[in-house]
């Protein structure tokens, strides 16, 4: 989230699209009801299903899953046509005036540079025109035909209300009503917040769904504003933290990236990470990259990381492919190219697409290690549970370990919530049975592996040997020791340049803030964006001062909010070119003539003059990007692409199937179904009564939603002879499920491109272990393809068939 849960109370309009906050995040949704009750805010819900969020909305409109970009580009077209633009903001704080170079183009769903055989683009033409000094050229009058503004205007023109309705199935009047409500927030003192979740990410163009909304929010001047912003409602309690800490194939902590084979040394590596400002006088914050990288390396390798060995550059592995994400991992496993796999508190057999493929892949491993507080289906993939899990144990040669670990109640440490708050927690119960903490388990595995290398020698033990391990009890590092390491410390005295008799930094102290990190090896920091979380003043994450003097939901002294305890990202954009807030009643910071101040920490240098340094300092341009250059694989502007499995052809580009730049593995393309065989548009989702595959283990949650079901309209039920509460069988090109039928008015057939489209809703929560009735798992049906940019599986839009059935063979 750019803002925080408590900030939502400051909004005028809530748009829930690509999510279902009332069901998935009920206590966060509280702040929507607060805004409604106390500010008279309005709530719009756009969703294929009339959800529990919709039940308390002021306005609900249906949309066919996988068509959000068409809807949002349609809204942008409406705003432009009806002059509902926050002009001062758009002209100054976005890339609207920047000029794109000649040669860039878009036609029939494709941008310049597409290579069909590679399913990829040569993105060289997707860039600005630069002057002799290397600055991007601009036209402040927005008259230049190739300035971003005019290209955008042209790009969105075809998304008329009629076309939007034809693609999305949203009635034209409903679309116009919503566009009008959104347009009202273009007033400088009106804001809209966007609340989204996996409803936008789990598509083959998920990143562009979100980008499209971010563009909309920029044009309305809603970024950086209290009550505004882009609010990704993360799914799990610490998935924000796991991502911040870089637990992904291609990341280092703090959104630094791992080196590739094309970067044999640090100098080459830094060449593409220089982030030179593209406009004169602008701040490009990523120019500090090397300070963060070197400090990270010092945390990892300590004294073994030296200037001579490029700060231990070769201790880290290099990537030969863009990423080894989970889809690739299971593809490799399925091909028999992997031998070992660890699952730490994760249940991939239920979580990843095409369950049959996942089960077969796990069966090809030599060993599988599952660390989990619960008995997972993954650890039991080899067991036979009839139709629910048709394995033959005698044929599965995988050695499987199930290691019991603690859960929250027995564990200490911090979690990072969606608001980016790092909150510390304490254990309230002793570890029972032979349960151990994850830290202990991981430390034990490492120490035993390292001991084997010390004894026997073997392949490249150098990095394992160099890894810092300065813990009081090397067998089980304490949460506090690890938190201090993440924050970072001063390794050598650093004299004050103004007065060399004084020390700027003193050896042995915790680093107080990331602004103090250095690229000369004198500081360490495991994750620069968390720097400041555990200083010499103490554990900032454990702070519990819940006073809120501004009354704006800032809670400045509650826990620690990354970065730098800032609560609203890009908050500099909440004030105009003179530094005067667009809305004085909801102002995080303001310019007092010499510096920025207010209830929040300024997202800019405190003395950066408002008319000189533009607000978006994390971009090279200093402004919000309406045109994203070559930074996304599938285009500098979003385009409407159908899901890979769609009931209709793409109205704007009939020849293009799916996202043309999304990766599809051999064999998976053949497992896509078509609308003749599988005529219904399916979507998967959570229910409020359950959390993923965890609460099915809880008796009380099992009572609330005991049994796997699918939801269909009364019309489809009639057509297919399906009874309310009766059994149905749902088939996709990859597998089938059997479920109870919930027949509801809340799903209605839509008309898309003249064709009736029926939606089949499939909740995800059931498996073959736990307190609920056994269920199949929605992933038996879902396609094995991910988003073009970050490989999030396309769980939200695929095709199925459905018919009445007599129920599972075993239950």
């Amino acid at each position: 989230m750019t803002n925080s849960w408590t900030d939502i109370k400051n909004t005028d309009l809530v748009l829930i699209m690509g999510g279902n906050a009332a069901e998935a995040h009920p206590c966060g949704f509280k702040w929507v009801t607060e805004a409604k009750a106390n500010r008279g805010a309005k709530l719009i819900v756009v969703d294929p299903r009339y959800t529990r969020s919709a039940s308390v909305a002021d306005y609900y409109a249906p949309i066919r899953q996988g068509t959000d970009i068409a809807f949002l580009l349609g809204v942008i077209a409406y705003l432009i046509k009806n002059d509902k633009i926050q002009w001062e903001y758009t002209r100054n704080y976005t890339s609207a005036p920047l000029i794109v170079k000649e040669g860039f183009g878009y036609k029939d769903g494709l941008f310049t540079g597409y290579d069909e055989s590679k399913r990829d683009y040569d993105r060289a033409s997707w860039d600005y025109e630069f002057d002799e000094q290397g600055f991007a050229k601009v036209d402040p009058t927005l008259q230049h035909p190739r300035c971003v503004w005019n290209l955008l205007k042209e790009h969105v023109a075809q998304y008329t209300p009629e076309t939007v309705s034809r693609i999305c199935g949203t009635p034209k009047e409903a679309f116009l009503k919503i566009a009008e409500m959104i347009g009202e927030t273009s007033a400088p003192d009106k804001v809209m917040t966007s609340m989204y979740a996996l409803g936008w990410t789990q598509h083959s163009k998920g990143s562009q769904n979100i980008r499209c909304m971010a563009m909309l929010q920029l044009l309305l001047g809603n970024m950086g504003m209290m009550g505004g912003g882009m609010n990704a409602l993360r799914g799990h309690s610490n998935i924000q933290g796991l991502t911040d800490l870089g637990l992904m194939s291609n990341l280092l902590p703090g959104y630094l990236t791992l080196a590739t084979d094309r970067e044999p040394d640090l100098e080459t590596y830094m060449k593409t990470r220089g982030f030179k400002p593209m406009r004169p006088g602008q701040t490009s914050f990523w120019q500090n990259y090397k300070k963060f990288f070197v400090s990270f390396q010092k945390s990892m390798w300590g004294a073994a990381a030296t200037a001579e060995n490029q700060w231990g550059y070769d201790f880290l592995p290099k990537l030969d492919l863009p990423s080894y994400d989970v889809l690739r991992a299971f593809e490799l496993m399925h091909q028999g190219k992997m031998n070992g796999y660890f699952c730490q508190g994760f249940n991939p057999l239920m979580s990843f697409p095409n369950k049959n493929k996942i089960r077969a892949a796990l069966g090809k491993l030599k060993f599988l290690v599952v660390m989990d507080p619960l008995q997972t289906e993954t650890a039991r993939f080899w067991e036979n549970h009839g139709e629910f899990n048709p394995s033959d144990p005698s044929k599965v040669q995988t050695e499987v370990f199930e290691l019991p670990t603690t859960l929250f109640a027995e564990d200490e440490g911090s979690l990072t919530n969606s608001s980016r708050w790092l909150q510390w927690h304490w254990p309230g119960q002793d570890k029972r049975f032979e349960i151990r903490s994850d830290v202990w388990v991981v430390a034990q595995i490492f120490r035993r592996l390292k001991a084997l290398y010390e004894k026997e020698g073997g392949a490249y033990p150098d990095a394992m040997k160099a890894l810092t391990w300065e813990y009081a009890n090397p067998d089980e590092p304490s949460p506090e020791e690890l938190a201090r390491e993440i924050n970072g410390k001063v390794l050598e005295d650093v004299p004050d340049p103004a007065d060399p008799s004084k020390k700027l930094l003193e050896k042995g102290k915790q680093v107080p803030a990331f602004a103090m990190l250095r690229d000369d090896g004198t500081t360490s920091s495991g994750n620069w964006i968390y720097c400041g979380c555990f200083t010499d003043a103490g554990n900032m994450m454990a702070r519990r001062d819940n006073r809120d003097p501004s009354g704006l939901g800032v809670y400045q002294n509650w826990s620690f909010s990354w970065p730098a305890n800032r609560r609203v990202l890009y908050n500099r954009a909440s004030a105009d070119l003179q530094g005067k807030p667009w809305d004085a009643k909801r102002s995080p910071i303001a310019w007092d003539g010499s510096k920025w101040s207010g209830p929040d920490i300024p997202d800019i240098a405190p003395t950066a003059k408002p008319d000189q340094v533009m607000p978006f300092i994390m971009t090279n341009e200093g402004v919000g990007r309406l045109f994203v250059r070559n930074m996304m694989k599938d285009g500098p502007f979003p385009v409407h692409y159908e899901p890979f499995e769609s009931p209709v052809a793409n109205v704007i580009a009939p020849k293009v199937r799916g996202n043309p730049a999304a990766r599809v593995f051999k064999g998976d393309m053949e497992q896509f179904g078509d609308a003749k065989e599988f005529p219904y548009a399916a979507v998967t989702y959570r229910l409020t009564e359950h959390f993923h595959y965890w609460t099915k283990h809880n008796q009380v949650n099992a009572v609330m939603q005991p049994e796997f079901f699918v939801e269909i309209s009364e019309e489809l039920a009639r057509e297919k002879g399906i009874q309310k509460g009766g059994w149905v069988r749902v088939d996709s090109a990859r597998g089938f499920v059997k479920a109870k039928a919930v027949v509801t008015k809340r799903i209605k057939p839509m008309t898309c491109d003249g064709k009736t489209v029926h939606v089949v809703g499939i909740p995800i929560h059931w498996g073959f272990i736990g307190a609920t009735k056994k269920g199949f798992g929605a992933n038996s049906l879902t396609p094995f393809v991910g988003d073009a940019n970050i490989e999030t599986p396309e769980f939200k839009a695929f095709l199925v068939d459905i018919r009445a059935d007599t129920g599972p063979a075993t239950s």
């Binding site: 009332a22 069901e23 009920p26 206590c27 949704f29 509280k30 009801t33 409604k36 009750a37 008279g40 009339y50 529990r52 969020s53 919709a54 039940s55 308390v56 002021d58 609900y60 409020t688 009564e689 008796q699 009380v700 949650n701 099992a702 009572v703 609330m704 939603q705 005991p706 049994e707 796997f708 079901f709 009874q723 309310k724 509460g725 009766g726 109870k740 039928a741 919930v742 027949v743 509801t744 008015k745 809340r746 307190a771 609920t772 009735k773």
Partner: protein
Amino acid sequence: MADIALELARQSATAGGITGALAPKDDFQVSKLIDTSKCIGCKACQVACLEWNDLREQVGVNTGVYDNPHDLTENTWTLIRFTEWDNTATGRLEWLIRKDGCMHCADPGCLKACPSPGAIVQYTNGIVDFNHSACIGCGYCIKGCPFNIPRISKTTEKAYKCTLCVDRVAVGQGPACAKACPTQAISFGTKAQMKQLAEKRVADLKSRGFDQAGLYDPPGVGGTHVMYVLHHNDRPQLYASLPDNPRISPVVELWKGAVKYAGIALMGVAALTGVLHHTVMGANRVTARDEEEGEKIQEGRK
């Protein structure tokens, strides 16, 4: 503490009342306000109720709806009931969600129907509670209830329903469901405070086009200590058959009279039991025939 301490107002089947009992006190009347327009049907209240009261419910099945369990039980004292309603006036679908449970009537039909001395009590703050040591499991309370709330356990053969978390209220806390409710659709305070809050909510709903929004505090049972804010207060029955105008069955009114003025021994026991047996064992809802018979008997008494 004294202002929220519990004091008894009345109890079941006790002629002439009980020693030391106090009249209901307006100042100390408590109330739970359930705002259906803020309720998202998440069932946190159901879970909180089970957890606080150490209740265990059976894992059921799906019958084609979101309502789980499918009805109130001896363990499920509160239940979210869902109604899908096509509003023909606006052409829009509405998903009406109501948290069902004991309404804690000011004039409690259960208490009046109960033949066992002290099995049902009403405190001066308005809470109606069951005392299981005195409950004989006869089920008359179910018939006496215009909202069809109490349930008899087959195991313990006693009647159960929401206590308004009397153990929490006694120490100055609100009920567990109100504590949990994520959107604060459930509020708890004095009845006067809750009426004030409801007024504000009704005004907000009217500003959003719900012209008939209002407070459900039915006079037929003397008002209730659990009240609803309804978007369609002109049509309570839309909300999973919430009675439009609930009142205590005349049969029970008769029974109440009998206890008060004559006592069981002086009545034609067999005849009376016959009527009550029919009342209890017959249809759950009071039928037209029941009403008629009850009225006839009352007529006869006059």
